[in-house]
């Protein structure tokens, strides 16, 4: 059956739970593109035949193949676009540097898209408020208190807070830190918010 391979691509994304990025299925994509090429060539020959010999009976099959082509195109773009949206939300989650295992799942074009997106977003945030700049990836949740209790999940090294004090983030140590400084680290999994 036509279009089955492309549905498999879409299913693959659909099966992943929210926001997860499976490896780019280059192989599956190539198969779909091959199918499209075959369909297109067959259509070309049939169109020529229909024109030169006036065979109207070929028209329905041409139409069917064309519909399959359109469907393939639509599904492939949906596959790519959905991956973009996932990559986009990774930017908001992890900051501008993606963890290696995620990068490993992206194809070269996606990496390029990501770095361009990063750039656009950064220049947008810099230009806010007449060039003053505001980091929109901070303050994701409404603030409840100024300081929060956090526990270190892994060694992160030294960390400077606003008033210039430097603290050492060591695994399993607990700290009482300004919330706005550690939001990012919590999302990266370095710190854990201790809710007592």
């Amino acid at each position: 059956m036509f279009c089955e391979k492309v549905i498999e691509l879409i299913r693959e994304l659909h099966r992943m739970s929210d926001g997860q990025l499976p490896a780019f299925n280059e192989d599956g994509l190539r198969q779909v593109l091959q199918e499209m090429e075959a369909l297109y060539e067959q259509n070309q020959t049939d169109v020529n035949e229909a024109k030169s010999e006036g065979r109207a009976d070929l028209i329905p099959s041409i139409k069917l193949r064309h519909c399959c082509l359109l469907r393939n195109q639509r599904c492939v773009t949906a596959y790519c676009y959905d991956r973009l949206l996932r990559i986009r939300s990774l930017r908001w989650e992890y900051g501008s540097v993606l963890p290696a295992n995620v990068r490993f799942h992206m194809c070269a074009e996606e990496v390029q898209w990501f770095s361009q997106y990063k750039k656009s977003l950064a220049s947008f945030m810099r230009s806010l408020g007449g060039g003053e700049g505001l980091d929109l990836t901070q303050d994701m949740k409404p603030p409840k208190s100024l300081y929060i209790e956090v526990r270190c999940l892994k060694d992160h090294g030294e960390f400077e807070i606003d008033d210039g004090t430097v603290i050492l983030l060591k695994k399993n140590s607990q700290h009482f830190l300004p919330r706005w400084k550690c939001e990012q680290l919590i999302r990266q999994g370095v710190l854990e918010h201790v809710v007592s």
């Binding site: 994509l29 593109l33 499209m36 090429e37 369909l39 297109y40 082509l69 359109l70 195109q73 639509r74 492939v76 773009t77 790519c80 676009y81 973009l84 986009r88 194809c107 074009e109 996606e110 390029q112 898209w113 361009q116 997106y117 750039k119 656009s120 977003l121 220049s123 947008f124 230009s127 806010l128 408020g129 007449g130 003053e132 505001l134 980091d135 929109l136 901070q138 303050d139 949740k141 409404p142 603030p143 208190s145 100024l146 008033d163 919330r179 706005w180």
Partner: protein, 225 residues
Amino acid sequence: MSDALSDDGGGDVNQDDTQEDVMTPAELIAKLEEAWLNEKFSPELLENKSEVVECVMEQLSHMDANLQRVKKGDAKASIHRMEIDRIRFVLSSYLRSRLHKIEKFFPHVLEREKSRGEGDPSLLSPEEFAFAKEYYANTETYLKAVALKRMPPNLQTVDMLKAVPEPGLDSFVFLRVKERQENILVEPETDDQREYIVDLEEGSQHLMRYRTIAPLVSSGAVQLI
């Protein structure tokens, strides 16, 4: 939260735009909150409020500078810090939801920007417009590079306007009426209903389709909640 931010009593938030220069901070914050809620709950992108954003940012850095001068350990300082944090959250959240809508509906947003008349106010601030254009170009390049250019010649373009979903203007929103409205025409939802007319009393709350009251949101006569 709004109590903490705007405890000026009966500050009128619906002042003329010409009087903006004399707006008190509390009024400014009220304006920001209004824009924030509307933006958060409306399905489509609303007109940009870049002058409010700029004023708030100015205010924030002003407050920040003041706080630097306060000596350490002052109880008042931490209360002000908290206030700064809250305002900054509202501001970021507002800009974030705008950005999210721009990314979600980028072809439609740019299309509206293109078809906008000379004197009409722009939906997008200049920065947002630059971002939307870049986003569009970037996404188009990506789709071309990864798949489209390897497709048969007649299938190498995608109509972004058709491919990307439009904002769902028919979704329902909660709203509070700020100025009394008469003769609002509610269109039928199904074939066996008829259109009818409602009056919206000041202070009353409703659940309506966004499309019906969209002009009232942009004029500020109703507030989405």
